[in-house]
């Protein structure tokens, strides 16, 4: 009796037997570098984030903690989870900011919100990019609580998607960090195409853009 062939070997054999045909390298004539000034880029980012019905606030460096406090007070939020290495000067004294101690999903569910930074932001699409860096924390903390306050330093805003992906390629190759791209709050349009903000992810996204 012939030895049974593994699924792997058989699939690879089927592919090989499909034959060979020429496939010239893909043409890449699309834009890979932006053309806006720093100020224009930051403004575009703010506009595009606001388009998703996220709240955008522009703040000066040094005023982040005050702004976070205002956001929390306005939303009656008293308890935030934060990444263990989050910058101390972003944490308002008046709000309980609890460092992530490896909470279970159920424990995270009891928090009102989460405060993080981000690695990059994309102006053209209004996207913030989380890569589990020190002041972003693991994926679950920005997912389970209902409010996400994200601090975006103007200097980490790029204009185009390719500019961001090239930076992310490095992070994945070197460190294999998980990546989450966030463009506005959770949403669905499943009922008669009416957009509803907030199904399972944070229903509110507040982006604080810090002037450099």
């Amino acid at each position: 009796m012939a030895k049974p062939v593994s699924a792997r070997d058989e699939i690879l054999a089927r592919i090989a037997s499909a034959g060979q045909w020429p496939a010239p390298a893909a043409e890449r004539e699309y834009h890979v570098a932006g053309s806006l000034s720093d100020g224009e880029r930051a403004k575009l980012f703010c506009d595009r984030v606001a388009d998703y019905r996220a709240e955008v606030r522009r703040v000066v460096a040094g005023a982040v903690a005050d702004e976070v406090r205002d956001v929390c007070f306005a939303r009656a939020v008293s308890r935030l989870v934060v990444p263990t290495a989050l910058r101390a000067d972003w944490r308002p004294a008046e709000v309980d900011a609890v460092p992530d101690a490896g909470f279970t999903a159920r424990e995270l569910d009891a928090f009102d919100g989460v405060l993080t930074g981000c690695t990059l932001a994309v102006a053209a699409t209004g996207t913030i990019v989380l890569t589990a860096a020190a002041d972003e924390g693991r994926r679950a903390i920005t997912l389970v609580p209902d409010l996400h306050i994200c601090v975006v330093d103007e200097r980490c805003i790029v204009e185009l998607v390719p500019e961001a992906m090239r930076e992310l390629a490095r992070i994945v190759r070197d460190e294999r960090r998980p990546i989450t791209l966030v463009s506005g709050p959770s949403a669905t349009s499943d009922i008669e195409l009416d957009r509803v903000e907030g199904v399972h992810g944070p229903r509110s996204l507040v982006v604080l853009v810090v002037a450099s």
Binding site: A26, R166, P185, D190
Partner: protein, 461 residues
């Protein structure tokens, strides 16, 4: 398995006025949104060409990219399984769930898992597959199935959904406001997410070079399913690979704009194997063939495997926007379904699908990866005829060939037609020919033979 013939299924679906109204409203809305955000990008055509070129490269070197992906996933702490067919893929998921004693798995909306009938296979093993996408949950609660790739419950309106929820997950719910309905599903699913031990997902892209898996979504249920459970199984069609991480810069521009008409979808998750202390600590990826290598053999048809499941071709199709997705009898509806399904299940089982098109070409124009759907449709129509056309049609075609073969015969037939057609011409159109020709005229306007042919006119000058 033979699919129901499209004309029969379409006739049934067209009779549903509610469906047609919901569908028309939805597809018109998405079309307009898509057009707006596509116009924003001055390099859209260049992005399409890059997308096409990258996918063509993947298919031409598929074996190499698959083994590279396998090596990368394994090196990053994941386990790769290969599945020749649906049964093998389903068996992997059942086995993983059993190994962890799970009686329920949480699922992200995935066409691939619909294609292989995963939920039924799990149910057969005593495991409940909980759909967590809002629309999929609606359909699952009602024993219905998707009618659109992107908005699967597009054929349901808010009152129908409220009544369904009142019967099932939210007794006593009165409001049919979408916000209230979304809140009900959030409350119902949150508990299940927090307790889930095994998550199951499809994937939009797999990156051959790094072993990264990419899931694109809106609601956050995808993040829940791929982040919270300690164990995650992802089913990946072998054609879903892209060579390098940077290739995502093309597809993450093409997909959301073509699909939901947004500049970017709310959430895109990318994970590369297991990350200590963050997300699932046991990862499985199932590489699924299930007919794809058969499609690969066809020089013309293989471009159907470029598809990134955006659904733009559905929303512009004059056939789909009237019949809806159920008429296509497969998880892949619309123009892309008409070329993909017959190739996956064999043309002999879906002979009528390549004919479910007016060949207007709108699908080709909007396709973000430039799949030449009309050409593939014609190619498959030829294959369907080779696989056996109805005897009557073959006879008619032979008679037509014989007639057109000589000028004298054509003239004689034209003269005869002018006389015979008289009782059937109304308002310049041939109506209600006697059977079996009635099957043609019942749904189409046929021009009668002209009072004078071009040849006659030429000779009379």
């Amino acid at each position: 398995m033979k699919l129901e013939a499209f004309p029969d299924a379409a006739r049934r679906e067209l009779a549903d006025a509610q469906l047609r109204a919901n569908l028309r409203n939805a597809t018109d809305t998405i079309r307009a949104k898509r057009a707006r955000v596509v116009d924003e990008l001055t390099d859209w055509q260049e992005l399409r060409e890059a997308g096409r070129g990258i996918k063509a490269d993947v298919l031409a070197n598929l074996g190499r990219y698959l083994t590279s992906f396998e090596t990368a996933v394994t090196a990053a702490g994941g386990t790769v399984h290969w599945a020749r067919d649906a049964a093998e893929a389903n068996a992997v998921v059942v086995e993983v769930a059993r190994a962890h004693g799970a009686t329920e798995v949480v699922k992200v909306k995935s066409l691939t898992t619909d294609e292989i009938g995963l939920n039924d296979a799990l149910a057969g093993a005593g495991i409940h597959a909980l759909e967590t996408d809002f629309a999929e949950l609606i359909l699952q609660l009602d024993g219905d199935w998707p009618s659109h790739i992107l908005v699967p419950a597009i054929h349901r309106n808010r009152r129908e959904i409220r009544d369904l929820f009142a019967r099932t997950i939210a007794p006593g719910i009165e409001s049919d406001d979408p916000e209230a309905l979304a809140e009900a599903s959030r409350a119902y699913l949150r508990e299940r997410f927090l307790n889930a031990r095994v998550g199951v997902s499809g994937a939009n892209f797999g990156i051959a070079e790094t072993g990264t898996v990419c899931v694109v979504e809106s609601e956050g249920n995808g993040r829940m399913c791929t982040t919270l459970p300690p164990v995650l199984v992802t089913i990946l069609g072998i054609e879903k690979l892209v060579p390098r991480f940077e290739d995502l810069e093309v597809f993450l521009q093409l997909l959301p704009r073509s699909s939901t008409g947004e500049r970017m979808n709310p959430y895109t998750s990318l994970w590369t194997g297991v990350t200590a202390g963050d997300g699932p600590q046991e990862l499985h990826v199932v590489l699924l063939d299930n007919g794809r290598t058969k499609v690969l053999r066809d020089d013309v048809g293989r471009q159907a495997l470029h598809c990134i499941r955006c659904s733009a071709c559905l929303n512009v199709c004059p056939v789909y926007t009237r019949t809806g997705g159920h008429a296509y009898g497969s998880v892949y509806p619309g123009p892309i379904g008409a070329i993909l399904t017959p190739q996956l299940v064999g043309i002999e089982n879906a002979k009528s699908l390549p004919f479910a098109s007016s060949l207007c070409g709108a699908c080709y124009e909007v396709c973000p990866v430039k799949i030449d759907i009309p050409t593939v449709l014609l190619h498959l129509r030829a294959a369907a005829v080779r696989a056996g056309a109805p005897r009557g049609e073959r006879l008619l075609m032979r008679i037509a060939g014989f007639t057109f073969g000589s000028a004298g015969r054509l003239r004689a037939v034209q003269r005869a037609a002018r006389l015979v057609q008289r009782p059937f011409v109304r308002n310049g159109t041939l109506r209600a020919l006697p059977p079996p020709l009635r099957r043609w005229t019942a749904t189409r306007d046929l021009k009668p033979a002209a009072p004078q042919s071009f040849r006659d006119w030429w000779q009379s000058r």
